[in-house]
Amino acid sequence: MGNNIRLLINNISVVYSDVIQVLKGVSLTIKKGQVVSLLGSNGAGKTTTLKAISGLLKPENGKVTEGSIEYDGEQVQNSSPEQITRKGIIQVLEGRQEFKYLTVEENLRVGTATRWGKSFQKDLELVYSYFPALLARKKSLAGYCSGGELQMLVIGRALMAHPRLLLLDEPSLGLAPLLVKEIFRIIRRINQEQGTTLMVVEQNANMALQIAHHGYVMENGKIVMESNAEDLRENPDVKEFYLGTAASGALKSYKEVKAYKRRKRWL
């Protein structure tokens, strides 16, 4: 134990506006250099978990009320986003959140905010080498880019900040299957070539488990299952609820009432 752990979340609860409890005792561990996937249905608390790590709960009036988040051995729960991003944790928000009225290159330059005044030319080249599509569009307004280009843009923008832990919230959202494959291939390359530790929140469990080393499944603000990625892919429950295939491998049938009972066991 100890120094090969990048992030250790120990039994955290998160409450919004002092009354709405969203996370009820979540614990997870991310080792250095790993890709960890966090799966779960809508409203399970995946995004809240990411925001608890990145400090973005604060502007939404949310708070970690119990437990601790340790990043490289240092407690960071409830720190401000400015402090947390300067330690190297960068979150890529869900739904692409580009700066519409800035050009592609200006968007990328905002990624240098954590190290204002340092040179960034090398980083731009690195991002363009991962995402050649962005190079062609560097002078156009981000508001006029396609969904695929924007997803590349926001991941590239986060890379500009030299992240040591990159949190990706639903990178596949609203993209064509081929693009999803492409994006995930690049995410894997970033992990392997830059050694960036990654946490990927996904609904597309299939893609997420292909690039992950380790996976967690969330339901109703709790972790209900964790395992290494291969085991999760083979797990019959995960297959049925998240990969869309029944235990036998055939497409899931609506009539299988039994599924309801099995699902309930998790809650």
């Binding site: 986003p81 959140q97 800035l102 204002w116 900040a161």
Partner: protein, 292 residues
């Protein structure tokens, strides 16, 4: 014809002054969505600061001008740090009420120190600056305004287009949550926009002071005139503020010249009401990029 041309020149000169006055107002609105009711007082403070430094302390004009700009830049920082920062996260209406409070506080302080009389700057601009085409004249103070104003516009254009801090400021105006997620120091951006706004306000305050005489009431009422200018131009558009200023300036001088001088002061507000009825987002407001 000469009369028309003279009015045109006067209108553009006056309008350019309004544009400069409105710039700082737009900057604060763009970055933090705050309507700054204390803008007129920032103008007045700039003018009085210059008066004290140049006339009373007898500093050389250029030095006094530079010190005034530095002083008001600092004042902007101080206002943001002590008055606005504690309210980050509170409802917008409270912040706007706060700027109204600041405006009365500053106005009271200025009246207490300088009284309500008109103070005059000494004539320090060289006569040679004035331009003359036939019967049409452009006094030296307006020529100086154009030169200084255009230099500032170019500097600000470069600052926002190419410098990192300028790009961070635009990113906050564009999408604050995303800017936060990348570690943009939002408080520093707010502080910078107040500081820059105060600086531009001081600059236009000095020029307005030269043109109209320095008077607390006169200058702080410009803060109200900024509203028709920015609403005409669209609250969030720098280019719109410049155009809006020119239009209001022209309207004022032409109304004064051809219709009636008593209508002159009201016409901007009549236009304001008409524009709000027809185009609530202003003539040149940001064209929303919609994704379908």
């Amino acid at each position: 014809m000469d009369f028309f041309l003279q009015l045109l020149v006067n209108g553009i000169s006056l309008g350019f002054l309004y544009s400069l006055s409105a710039l700082g107002f737009v900057m604060i609105f763009k970055s933090s969505s705050v309507l700054n009711f204390a803008h007129g007082e920032l103008l007045a403070i700039g003018a009085f600061m210059f008066l004290v430094l140049s006339l009373w302390a007898n500093l050389p004009i250029v030095l006094a001008f530079a010190l005034t700009l530095i002083g008001s830049f600092t004042l902007g920082f101080i206002i943001e740090r002590f008055f606005l920062r504690p309210l980050i996260g509170e409802a917008l209406i409270q912040v706007i009420m706060l700027t109204l409070g600041i405006s009365y506080m500053f106005k009271g302080l200025l009246l207490f120190v300088f009284g309500g009389d008109i103070h005059d700057f000494p004539d320090f601009l060289p006569e040679g600056l004035a331009l003359k085409w036939g019967a049409v004249e452009l006094p030296s103070v307006y020529v100086a305004t154009f030169i200084i104003g255009i230099i500032f516009l170019i500097i600000f254009g470069f600052f926002f287009k190419y410098s990192s801090q300028g790009i961070y400021m635009r990113s906050v105006a564009d999408n604050q949550p995303a800017a936060l997620s990348l570690g943009v120091n939002v408080r520093r951006v707010f502080a910078f926009s107040w500081a820059i706004a105060a600086l531009v306000a001081a600059m236009s305050g000095i020029v307005l002071g030269i043109v109209k005489g320095i008077n607390v009431h006169e200058l702080s009422s410009i803060g109200l005139k900024v509203f028709p200018v920015v609403i005409l131009g669209g609250l969030d558009s720098i280019g719109g503020a410049i155009l809006g200023g020119l239009i209001i300036g022209l309207l004022e001088t032409f109304t004064g010249g051809y219709v009636s001088t008593s209508l002159r002061e009201i016409i901007p507000f009549i236009v304001l009401v008409l524009i709000l009825m027809v185009r609530p987002y202003g003539l040149f407001g940001l064209v929303e990029i919609e994704r379908v």
